[in-house]
Symmetry: C2
Subunit: 148 residues, 2 copies
Amino acid sequence: MTEKKTFSISELASEFDVTTRSIRFYEDQGLLKPTRRGQTRIFSTKDKVRLKLILRGKRMGFSLAETKETFDLWDETLTGNEKQLLKMLSILDEKRAHIEQQKADIAMAELEINTREAHCREALAELQKKKQQQESTIKQSGHTAEQS
Amino acid sequence: MTEKKTFSISELASEFDVTTRSIRFYEDQGLLKPTRRGQTRIFSTKDKVRLKLILRGKRMGFSLAETKETFDLWDETLTGNEKQLLKMLSILDEKRAHIEQQKADIAMAELEINTREAHCREALAELQKKKQQQESTIKQSGHTAEQS
DNA sequence: AAAGCGCTTTACGTTAACGTAAACTTCCTC
DNA sequence: GAGGAAGTTTACGTTAACGTAAAGCGCTTT
């Protein structure tokens, strides 16, 4: 009762900050399966969840085709044939490997960002020091100028 | 003395598992700046480091243009004008935000992978159980058949 | 009933990041 | 000195993931 059950295309578009074109494209590629009232698309909460997964997948470097493959496979495993279950497990392992790579990348990137930031701040401090020195020099020459 | 100082295009290509075409493309886009002996490209360790950064950037979802921008900016900040240093700091903040997003994405993805794996193993256990039951039924009927 | 809003389909255009092919040099080896 | 391996330039082709424009439908608001 607390959650809305269906969504229009523009509702999803604004909620996830994508264009309606993209959403239609995802449907076209078989990633979303909205029902219709007349011509108009009606999206379920399942579609909404999938859209979220699509976008996260993109951020993580998965293509739409890959994401579709996992969607399809997951649907199939619901009817649970043993071979499909085993394939699913191996795909999950691949994903895990991908994630481990990402974690390593992120850790390295974070290190670099930190050292770069340190360098930047150091350089800025240097500049400030020179500024200070200049200002005091100016004040001094200003003072002597007043006196002369 | 312990590290080689220059590299051919195919050395880099095989070390990082990319095509020479890609490497030439990266140079064309201004991301790598090998020197030349005659026509032939000679890559420095700096180029090698940059290639590694390019590839990691790709895995993390950065475009070549973005990566080039950070390269260029970082080169500029070495000559340390204050405005450039500040811009560098703001870009570092952006990168950090990107990384935080990735961390969140990864955490969610890991959770999902784990629950999915659990479901899979559960379903497999179910199948095994049914198999066991079937086998024992067969043995039993085999036994009775022998006896009849 | 005219105008506007939100949705639709159809279809051609665009960008990034290379792939691929052709034709050429340089150097080494047989 | 013929061939082969590794490099080069030039240039057209390809794929994914949409962007963009045109034309039309259904409803309601004025």
